[in-house]
């Protein structure tokens, strides 16, 4: 046995459970559950399912907003146009790159910050938590502007403060090259959303039973061993939920790119592509098809997280 976790005691059926699986109590609990969640569910259907269905329907048409009379049914043509266009695949690549880089860095940083918040002195804890949370409270557009101004060649301070770094000079045009632009975009995203991931991980850290830590200590485990063998295995569910939420979020990146480069130099993400077709070109059909494909990507990510990594959302809730 290399890791120490609590046995999944609550998951096993009690011996006295009735054969058909549902007790009266379970049934009434289920009913109460529906009553409590029902209104929220109905609202979700209204504000989420309805637009998704409408977008899917419109994606089958050739429909320009300024020319509604010439709307015509074209079947899956829009999807064919998108999937055979190199711009789509380039955007997928950029989006995947930003997602992988930001989520990986955020996970490590967020875990560090969560540990700091847990271990901090009781008196310092509220101040520390507030300080760590501030970037998350900043509106994305504002944070994008702040980072853009910092790296701007005319008004930014980065070019004069960091000239000692290799590759940085007074004349470095951060937004004029694809990779430097993506670097700044990733930095802004990481700065802004690390607090979110660290909050979720903090909740996970709090769930690790102190008894296991003490038992490991008694057995002579080092700090490092306790981290890898006790803490992390016990918060696997919390880590997976944090990763899932952030990945879904990161895959829809838009604001930062819109502000910083407006998609120039090959920095367009999939959401940006959807914006270009729907809002700028007014091609509702083509744009809806991009949105539907983006939605399918997000569903695929969520599905693979839940099935492949076996993330149990219920366990993360502490059931």
């Amino acid at each position: 046995m290399t890791t120490t976790t609590l046995p999944p005691g609550k998951k096993t059926e009690p011996v006295s459970a009735p054969k058909n699986g549902i007790t009266d109590r379970a049934r009434s609990e289920r009913k109460l559950g529906w009553l409590l969640a029902g209104p929220a569910f109905a609202v979700m259907l209204l504000v989420t399912a309805y637009p998704i269905v409408q977008a899917t329907y419109e994606s089958l048409f050739d429909y320009r907003l300024t020319d509604p009379e010439n709307r015509s049914f074209v079947g899956l043509t829009n999807y064919w146009v998108i999937l055979t266009d190199s711009l789509w695949w380039q955007s997928i690549g950029v989006t995947a790159f930003i997602t992988v880089v930001t989520v990986a860095v955020e996970l490590v940083l967020g875990f560090g910050l969560a540990l700091v918040m847990v271990k901090a002195l009781r008196a310092l804890r509220p101040v520390l938590r507030a300080a760590i949370l501030i970037p998350y409270a900043v509106i994305t557009v504002v944070s994008a502007f702040a980072w853009q101004f910092a790296f701007d060649i005319n008004s930014g301070f980065v070019n004069s403060w960091f000239t000692w770094l290799p590759g940085v000079s007074e004349n470095t045009d951060w937004f004029g090259d694809r990779w430097t632009a993506l670097l700044v975009i990733c930095l802004a995203e990481i700065w802004k959303t690390t607090p979110f991931i660290s909050l979720l991980l903090l909740a996970g850290l709090a769930q690790v039973p102190e008894v296991l830590q003490e038992a490991a200590k008694v057995d002579g485990a080092t700090r490092w061993q306790r981290m890898w063998r006790v803490t992390i295995p016990n918060m696997k569910a919390a880590i997976m939920v944090a990763l899932l939420f952030r990945t879904l979020d990161a895959f829809r990146v838009f604001d930062t790119i819109f502000i910083m480069t407006n998609g120039a130099n090959g920095t367009e993400s999939v959401s940006f592509l959807a914006y270009r077709q729907t809002i700028a070109r007014l091609e509702i059909g083509l744009g809806s098809a991009v949105s539907v494909l983006l939605f399918l990507c997000v569903v695929a990510i969520a599905f693979s997280f839940i099935k492949l990594f076996k993330v149990d959302l219920a366990q993360a809730r502490g059931e």
Partner: protein, 453 residues
């Protein structure tokens, strides 16, 4: 939406939410705030009940001139109408997006709108502009610079009211031109100013960022070389539009673009430079030349007034006609500005046209020119002594407006412009032999809805 929220009556709304607040003592502020926001939004959507005499004018951000003109015309109207202004986003593309989405939803709150000329054909073709009454059309096109009338016309008819007409001139530092031995009284070419800047170690500023301003620059270059982006607009079937990008003029325009972007005079951030950052370049100690709008001058004067710039800098400024592409062909500077459209769903289009005529009066145009640096479209304003005093370079601007060539006029302007931005950015990566062809292919495929943009 602070503007919309300001129109609700907090007193009446507050009474409706009080019971909810009492039930949950911890949340009254949040609940009240949420309800107020919702109420404010709903009120804005429903339009205000102030009667037909309130006209809403959607304006592009400026230095406060349009709001002042709105107030002046409201006063002059003597109670017949009140003009309220509503602010649009900063850049022209976002202004178009917001207006077009509202108009597609038959928004009756849009009475007047400040329109960037290249988008006017799209609005007119979609039926978003109320027809201009004949007598108004006659009056507002009289004694107006040719490019502004052309920019307000679609399919042979005046569809908008010319307001102010913008053009780019070649701003330069007198000291730099002198040091390089360049005679600015004669027309200069792009090669000459780049060479002069390289000799003196100064900058040539232009708009190399991937934005509308890149299309503006490219259009001026190709028009100066005697060509056009669109050679046949073909309004019936957009896929049949003929482009002139692969012509000799198109190749020459690409050559000049590449030459400027690759020279030492372009500066380190040329591929992200826009109107503002290139004006900043002219203000800096290695400022030399800058093709830009007239706002450059009041901007420098403003900085002197604020104490952030030495008075010697604007004193060193001078303006000349846009540089030539070919030595023996006159330049075709960019044309821009703002024309006024009346919303097709406005409840009082007659009053809106009356207001539009007041807004574009010579007096208001002169005021706007002097205070905001936005040149008039009415020719008589250029004889106004007050204008000449505030803008010593007004005659250059007037001459430039007469030479100016509008951007391609087509309802599919956005596709053309964004296609050009994609193909010709970064300017240093342009290949004069191939970029024209690649851009033509891209734009044609996009118009045929076979490609993404």
């Amino acid at each position: 939406m602070p503007y919309a929220a300001g129109r609700t009556e907090p007193g009446t709304r507050a009474t409706t939410i009080r019971p909810a607040a009492r039930r949950r003592p911890g949340r009254p502020v949040a609940a009240a705030a949420a309800l107020l926001v919702t109420a404010g939004t709903l009120a804005a959507c429903g339009g205000d009940g102030g009667g037909a005499s309130t006209l809403t004018w959607y304006i592009n951000p400026d230095a406060g001139g349009q709001a002042e003109i709105a107030a002046r015309c409201t006063e002059a109207a003597d109670g017949r109408y009140t003009i309220e202004t509503a602010l649009l986003p900063r850049d022209a593309a976002s202004q178009r997006e917001q207006l077009i989405r509202r108009l597609a939803a038959n928004d009756a709150s849009i009475d007047l709108m400040s329109l960037d000329p290249p988008f006017i054909p799209e609005f007119a073709q979609a039926g978003f502009l109320a027809p201009v009454p004949e007598d108004v059309a006659e009056r507002v096109a009289e004694d107006v610079v040719e490019s502004a009338v052309e920019g307000s016309t679609w399919d042979g008819e005046l569809v908008a009211v010319p307001f102010w007409a913008n053009t780019q001139v070649l701003w330069y530092r007198k000291s730099v031109a002198e040091a390089a031995g360049l005679n600015m009284d004669e027309p200069v070419t792009w090669e000459q100013i780049v060479q002069a800047a390289e000799e003196t170690g100064t900058l040539v500023g232009a708009q190399g960022a991937r934005a509308e301003s890149l299309t503006v620059w490219f259009n001026a270059l190709i028009e100066s070389a005697g060509g056009s982006i669109i050679t046949d607009a073909s309004p019936e079937d957009p896929a049949q539009i003929e482009l002139g990008l692969t012509s000799e003029a198109g190749r020459r325009a690409a050559e000049v673009m590449k030459m400027v972007a690759e020279s030492d005079a372009a500066g380190p951030a040329f591929s992200t430079s826009n109107e503002d950052s290139s004006a900043t370049g002219l203000e800096s100690e290695n400022g030399g030349f800058n093709v830009n709008y007239p706002f450059v001058y009041p901007r420098a004067l403003g900085a002197v007034e604020a104490g952030t710039m030495d008075p010697s800098v604007p004193e060193d400024y001078a303006a000349a006609i846009f540089p030539r592409v070919n030595e023996d062909e006159p330049a075709a500077p960019p044309y821009g500005g703002i024309n006024l459209g009346v919303g097709a769903f406005s409840e009082s289009p007659e009053l809106a046209y009356e207001a539009a005529e007041c807004i574009v009066s010579d007096e208001n145009q002169a005021y706007y020119f002097v205070t905001n640096g936005n040149p008039a479209s009415a020719t008589s304003v250029y004889d106004d002594p007050e204008v000449l005093e505030a803008f010593p370079m007004a005659p250059v601007i007037q001459e430039s407006l007469e030479l100016a060539a509008p951007r391609p006029q087509t309802p599919y302007y956005n596709e053309i412009s964004v296609g050009i931005q994609r193909a010709y950015h970064p300017p240093s990566g342009v290949d004069p032999g191939q970029t024209g062809e690649a851009a033509t292919e891209l734009i044609k495929a996009v118009l045929a809805k076979e490609d993404l943009l």
